[in-house]
């Protein structure tokens, strides 16, 4: 029974990673860049939600929506100002710019909201669902996290597969040149991708802070790296891959913490990643690219 409860906790943590990883992987799939500032966009979302909830006393759902709006705008603005001028630059230049943006957001947050940690209010009641005669307890928060993650995943998949914009996004990730010839506004699609990725990062931020309620300007960096790992784990650029990678990473982390060692859990997560990449060099669901000579 303990195993089952660890598994569920792992799925809950993994759901948060999965949502952040979706943002990473979408941006990578379409703009072919590693957006290292993604974790920090999430951090800004957490602060916006925090102030909406505490200083302005806005209820939970509108606060989350407000936070999503803020990160969406932030994501689009960052893309326009910092990444768009580098559309044709080498990937390393874009990477360094993303790191610059990440520094900017972290230090900006420190300046605006001070580096002292803040305590995120509880947003979901403390109760839990009891199964098997009370042997297995699942807190409402865990359930909500998992359900929200699945909902985000389903909406995103439907959006990508069923709408015209989604089709345009797929076209852009295949071949930008051909997409342009088909009359797709590639710049617009990239902006939309950033908007969606950043918007769902706010959801992840609120869920993360509800589970681990300490808020600081460096909040986004470690989950950011983990989510990036999750995205690669599942095959970067693949949306189901990010979902699967995130969930697996969360489960491995919690199980390693429970059965091996708390301090070594990060090392174990990264070791599993290396092993997976050695067996499947493009991640679990990544496409194998054949090389043209």
């Amino acid at each position: 029974m303990a195993f089952l409860s660890y598994l569920i906790n792992g799925l809950s943590l993994g759901s948060v990673y999965a949502i952040i990883a979706l943002g990473y992987t979408m941006v990578y799939g379409i703009a072919k860049m590693l957006n290292f500032a993604h974790g920090d966009i999430m951090m800004v979302g957490a602060y916006v939600a925090f102030f909406a909830l505490t200083s302005f006393g806005i209820p939970v759902i509108p606060s989350v929506l407000l936070s999503m709006l803020a990160t969406t705008v932030l994501g689009v603005v960052i893309e326009r100002l910092a990444y768009k001028p580098l559309r044709h630059a080498t990937s390393l230049s874009v990477l360094i710019t993303a790191i610059g943006v990440s520094y900017f957001l972290q230090n900006g947050a420190q300046l605006l909201w001070s580096s002292s940690t803040k305590v995120f209010p509880a947003i979901i009641s403390n109760g839990s669902v009891k199964l098997f005669g009370g042997e297995l307890q699942i807190s409402y928060l865990t359930l909500v996290t998992i359900v929200v993650c699945i909902a985000v995943m389903v909406c995103l998949t439907l959006f990508i597969n069923k709408t015209k914009t989604g089709m345009a996004m797929r076209a852009c990730s295949e071949d930008k040149g051909a997409a342009t010839l088909m009359g797709i506004n590639v710049n617009m699609i990239i902006s939309i991708t950033f908007a969606i990725g950043s918007g769902i990062a706010a959801i992840a931020a609120v869920l993360l802070c509800a589970t681990y309620p300490t808020l600081s300007p460096t909040l986004g960096s470690m989950p950011g790296i983990k989510a990036f790992t999750a995205a690669v784990f599942g095959g970067i650029g693949s949306i189901p891959g990010a979902f699967l990678g995130g969930l697996m990473l969360g489960v491995i982390e919690i199980l390693a913490k429970a059965y091996v060692s708390t301090q070594l859990s990060d090392a174990i997560v990264f070791a599993v990643l290396i092993i997976v990449l050695l067996i499947k060099p493009t991640g679990l669901l990544g496409r194998k690219l054949s090389e043209k000579v």
């Binding site: 290292f36 943006v101 900017f104 301090q263």
Partner: protein
């Protein structure tokens, strides 16, 4: 025939020039710093930066070999520095009763640090170099985090009976006169500070010597061939995996040497210092300095280490300004208009050389 000869002569002269310039920068910089120190014009804050700057330069030269010359994005340079730093601390701590001369111990620590980092580089390189592009980047990132996390849980002590080692929990039972060298998350404490600026400068010169000799050798050309076109390189008989491994291991050992120097510069050192952020910091030095350009790496490292200190007057805004400078530099160096403008400037500055060039092309 004659023009070809001329061309090669010029090429060598040009190659030689960039080498000479980077050596000169280091030597002139060293003399200038020593002169400033002697005249008492160097504030203690800048003095405390001297050794770290040399460490960063050595690690960045190594990383540039990996990222610029070999074309593999490595996000785990801090992991190799971590190995070098803590093995260096152990060597120096264990040898302290036997060798009183700090310089000798420092040199031994640097050698051991470099060797161990090279060994780990080889172990991690075998599987890693099979991957490409962003996947290679993430594995090196993961590797750096693993090293940091392992050393964070490692306890090493030294007493009359030799080294003692324990993992996760502190189970060291040190005899009389024994000393704990690494104590888990607390890192190395009570380290004797034996790093000197002069050794740091010598290490940079050694690193430049190694990297330049490698770059302009047969192996160096093979490394660049693998970067530019792996398949073409393979088809002319270059063993791609071995060639990439060479660059990776040399880069790792330079980081290890830099780490040893870094570790022995502080009396306390925690493993969490060598995280992802340090790897990124060094990568920023390399990319801003120019890929494959060692002179650029040296200059950009010095400027970027000094920049936050020079901006100290702006207090809280300094890191934001640093970030903005980083972004603007990246955007400008990739802007065609700006590039054209710089090229024009260069042309107008070197107009005297143009007739010669025209002659050579005839």
């Amino acid at each position: 025939m004659k023009t070809e000869n001329n061309f090669f002569k010029k090429l060598f002269a040009k190659n030689y020039r960039s080498r000479t310039i980077s050596f000169l920068i280091i030597i002139v910089g060293y003399i200038a710093v020593e002169a400033l120190m002697m005249s008492g014009n160097l504030s203690s804050m800048f003095q405390s930066l001297l050794v770290p700057v040399t460490c960063y330069i050595v690690a960045a030269i190594g990383l540039n070999l990996n990222v610029g010359v070999s074309g593999e994005l490595n996000l785990g340079q801090a992991g190799f520095m971590c190995i070098g730093a803590f093995s260096g601390v152990c060597v120096s701590g264990a040898l302290a009763p036997f060798i009183s001369n700090g310089i000798v111990r420092l040199l031994l620590a640097i050698i051991v640090g470099a060797a161990l980092a090279a060994l780990f580089g080889m172990i991690i390189g075998i599987p890693v170099l099979k991957l490409q592009g962003d996947y290679l980047a993430i594995v090196t990132l993961a590797f750096g985090e693993i090293i940091k996390s392992l050393i964070n849980n490692m306890y090493i002590g030294f007493d009359s009976e030799g080294f003692q080692f324990s993992f996760v929990e502190n189970k060291l039972h040190l005899g009389p006169g024994g000393k704990a060298l690494i104590s888990g998350p607390m890192g190395a404490t009570g380290t004797e500070r034996i790093s000197t600026f002069m050794i740091g400068v010598l290490l940079i010169l050694a690193a430049l010597f190694i990297v330049y000799n490698l770059m302009y050798s047969r192996s160096g050309r093979a490394i660049m061939a693998c970067r530019d076109n792996r398949i073409a390189a393979e088809s002319v008989g270059i063993h791609v995996a071995n060639t990439k491994m060479l660059a990776f291991v040399v880069s790792a050992s330079l980081a290890g040497a830099a780490g040893a120097l870094y570790g022995l510069n502080y009396s306390t050192l925690v493993p969490s210092k060598f995280g992802f952020n340090l790897s990124i910091l060094i990568l920023v030095y390399v990319v801003l300095g120019g890929l494959g350009n060692m002179t650029g790496t040296i200059i950009s490292t010095i400027v970027l280490v000094l920049l936050p200190e020079l901006l100290r007057g702006l207090a809280d805004y300094r890191m934001i300004i640093y970030a903005v400078i980083l972004i603007i530099t990246m955007i400008l160096t990739n802007n065609d208009t700006f590039k054209g403008w710089i090229a024009k400037l260069k042309n107008s500055l070197s107009f005297k050389k143009q007739p010669k060039e025209a002659e050579a092309h005839e």
